[in-house]
């Protein structure tokens, strides 16, 4: 066969074909994501509606608690529910993506110890699955906007970029956590904690504007701050101001998470089959 390629297996040699393999295994990537989506809501009564119900109820509770009880300030011409939901979108995505991806390698241990494929497919596939939920929630966002008669402005054009940013943040953090989880199962307990904790330290129920000026920069070290602000800015006609320092901090931290995440993942990947 003319297309025959020679494969060389050697200690520390795997890198060379890696990215080409990733492309070659794209179908597996697709099938794994497809499997996760299919399986996700099997044997549930309301099925995919869960993707809508959970963020919706959270939004209702948050709106009630932060707006009616805590009476936190918000831009006057944006309904508080929209303010919350615009933040629920990326947060819900980030938190499910993070928990799914950090467990993804362990959940697929049987595959990893029996079949070769670029392991990067597994966490990436699980993030894609969460992204599908995200898209469904996005529809709910559109419905809410219709309900309130809220028309977004030109800023909506930047929305895909912020979605990509959210995706990258989840991907970078997910890579770190899933690789660590293979070896240190402590992360099984750490991840739910991060997710729970993160909900309070990220501006989901409130606007990041209420954080005192001098803490703003420190606050934006949480990469989700920039992401959430960006979502609000782009979805809500720019009524919620976008703070550039915090956006840049978020971009930098996400870039760092992704590159070091891939680096760490690639470094530990070859021992997964032996350690898992």
């Amino acid at each position: 066969m003319a297309t025959e390629t020679e494969l060389i297996i050697e200690a520390g040699r795997a890198e060379r074909q890696y990215w080409r393999d990733l492309w070659r295994y794209r179908e597996l990537f697709y099938f794994l994501a497809w499997r996760d989506i299919l399986v996700r809501y099997k044997q549930t009564v309301i099925g995919i509606a869960w993707a809508v119900v959970r963020p919706f109820l959270t939004m209702v509770v948050f709106t009630f608690v932060f707006s009616k009880i805590a009476k936190l300030p918000a831009p006057s011409n944006v309904p508080y529910a929209l303010l919350v939901f615009a933040a629920m979108l990326p947060w819900q995505f980030f938190s499910t993506a993070l928990s799914e991806s950090s467990n993804s390698l362990i959940g697929n241990a049987n595959l990893i110890s029996k079949i070769y494929f670029p392991r990067l497919i597994v966490p990436a596939g699980s993030i894609i699955t969460s992204f599908v939920d995200f898209l469904i929630t996005l529809v709910l966002m559109a419905v809410l906007m219709l309900w309130y008669g809220f028309v977004p402005g030109w800023q909506i054009l930047a929305f895909p970029l912020f979605s990509i940013l959210a995706f990258c943040t989840a991907f970078g953090a997910g890579l770190w956590l899933c690789a660590l989880n293979v070896k240190y199962r402590d992360f099984r307990y750490i991840v739910p904690f991060i997710v729970q904790f993160g909900l309070y330290v990220s501006p989901v129920g409130f606007s990041s504007a209420i954080v005192p000026e001098k803490w703003q920069l420190l606050y934006s070290l949480n990469p989700m701050v920039g992401v959430i602000d960006g979502f609000r800015w782009s979805l809500l006609r720019g009524e919620v101001p976008l703070s550039f320092p915090s956006l840049i901090a978020s971009l930098l931290i996400t870039a760092a998470l992704c590159t070091t995440g891939i680096w760490h993942f690639r470094r530990t990947e070859k021992t997964f089959a032996d350690v898992i």
């Binding site: 025959e4 297996i9 200690a11 597996l28 499997r35 299919l38 079949i115 070896k183």
Partner: protein, 445 residues
């Protein structure tokens, strides 16, 4: 050179094994504790406190960790200096005892794990089948699993679509295609899984002991399929099995691996013969191939002639007593014993089982059993002995395969031609032939 598709050069894989550790994974707390303890380590070194190093670590370096008197881990070469070539279209069997390194070799060839040293060059697409039904998801239907499993094994979508009907027919699951596989019987599950795997068309197929599943009819079907694959499509197959009969049937070439080293490579009959001779000479219980709970264990085996003298050669029809030494681990355990004779190819010939009586032994007590095997006339050749201790089909205490071998030679008492062998039959029956008078009117022959 051009038709060598797999070239393995000085391949080695080192694992670091830990002692006294039950968990498979490392807890972060231990790592933190170790890191914190590191500054103090030097201080306390004289006390020889056993600080654990590198738990769960797979060593990819050649460095030896510094050990105190009690090593917490030691380096272990699962494979060492293995070199061989495989030519295009060859079907190569890989044989060896449990833990010899066969599976490690397959794992390296299929890139699941990295070698520590050496290199492998492979030409062509490799598909590995280390387990039947890898990646099957219980919640998905048969149809969905065919696609998923196909993708996992390296088929692309178009290929799966093309072979879909063939796979379904082979697996005999037409009616249940849209049922989640978690509702399948285990037989259906295995059939479907094998069917997908059998329709793979890689240039190189790596198979690990997957035929040991399913009912015997399905196994025959699988063997047939494997033979087809090998014979018709000129694909290269690497096949690991304990089933020597299967290796002898399927493979033209074989590799014998023992303790991580390649002992020999060559035509499969030769290699199998060498493996059996080695196992015959090696009557060491430590190296036996055994399964079971170990509540009762075989610790030694001898064969005695009727005059009570130990022997490994018996005449045809001579009675044979197997003297089994064993050890009981659990209190008041009751067990029965079964003995099986097989040919060197693993074909079962004689089965003996004392189901009706069972023995009771005390904890830690060594015992000796004599099993008198009589009334069977085996044809000349070599036979292997399997011994089973267990509890009337409920539990296997110990099942040792090939723990003893003996030869049967021709006997003066049985006057048959000199060259009879196992090829004519495995059991000899001395016929009584008598001629009827030819009835009148019938043409005589």
């Amino acid at each position: 050179m051009s038709d060598v598709v797999i070239r393995v050069e000085n391949l080695g894989k080192q694992y670091r094994i830990r002692h006294q550790q039950a968990e498979r994974y490392t807890a972060l707390r231990d790592v933190i504790a170790q890191k914190c303890a590191a500054p103090f380590r030097a201080l306390f070194r004289r006390n020889g406190s056993p600080l654990r190093l590198d738990r769960g670590e797979v060593s990819n370096s050649h460095s030896l960790s510094t050990h105190n008197s009690q090593p917490a881990s030691e380096d272990f070469w699962a494979l060492k200096d293995v070199s061989f070539d495989v030519k295009r279209g060859e079907v190569v069997g890989i044989i060896g005892r449990n833990g010899a390194g066969k599976s490690t070799l397959l794992k390296i060839l299929s890139r699941i794990t990295e070698p520590t040293e050496g290199r492998v060059r492979i030409k062509g697409r490799v598909a590995s089948l280390l387990e039947v039904g890898t990646g099957f998801h219980p919640e998905l239907t048969g149809r969905e699993n065919i696609f998923l499993n196909g993708a996992i094994l390296g088929m692309n979508r178009a290929e799966i679509v093309r072979k879909f009907d063939e796979i379904v027919t082979f697996a005999e699951v037409e009616r249940f295609l849209d049922t989640p596989v978690k509702r399948y019987s285990s037989g259906m599950y295995v059939r479907l899984a094998f069917a997908v795997a059998a329709h793979l068309e890689p240039e190189i197929l790596v198979v690990d002991e997957v035929l040991a599943v399913g009912d015997s009819e399905f196994q025959r079907k699988c063997m047939g399929k494997m033979k087809d694959v090998a014979a018709n499509s000129g694909r290269t197959v690497l096949f690991v099995s304990h089933n020597l009969a299967a290796v002898a049937q399927l493979c033209s070439q074989a590799l014998l691996i023992s303790s991580g080293r390649l002992i020999t490579a060559g035509p499969s009959e030769q290699v199998i013969r060498l493996y059996l001779t080695n196992s015959k000479e090696n009557n060491d219980p430590i190296r036996w191939n055994r399964d079971g709970s170990g509540a009762v264990r075989l610790s030694g085996i001898q064969a005695l002639r009727c005059d009570g003298i130990t022997a490994t050669t018996f005449e045809m029809g001579e009675s044979l007593t197997l003297r089994l030494d064993g050890l009981a681990r659990d209190a008041g355990i009751q067990f029965s014993v079964a003995v099986q004779f097989t040919t060197e190819d693993g074909i079962p010939v004689v089965y003996a089982y004392n189901q009706s009586e069972s023995f009771r032994v005390r904890v830690g007590e060594a015992f000796t059993l004599d099993v008198l095997m009589t009334g069977v006339v085996l044809m000349p050749g070599t036979y292997l002995v399997n011994v089973w201790f267990g509890n009337a089909g409920i539990e296997h205490y110990d099942y040792v395969r090939g723990c003893f071998a003996f030869d049967v030679i021709q006997s003066a008492d049985i006057p048959v031609s000199l060259n009879i062998s196992q090829q004519l039959g495995l059991i000899y029956c001395h016929p009584r032939v008598h001629f009827h008078d030819v009835p009148a009117g019938m043409p005589s022959r």
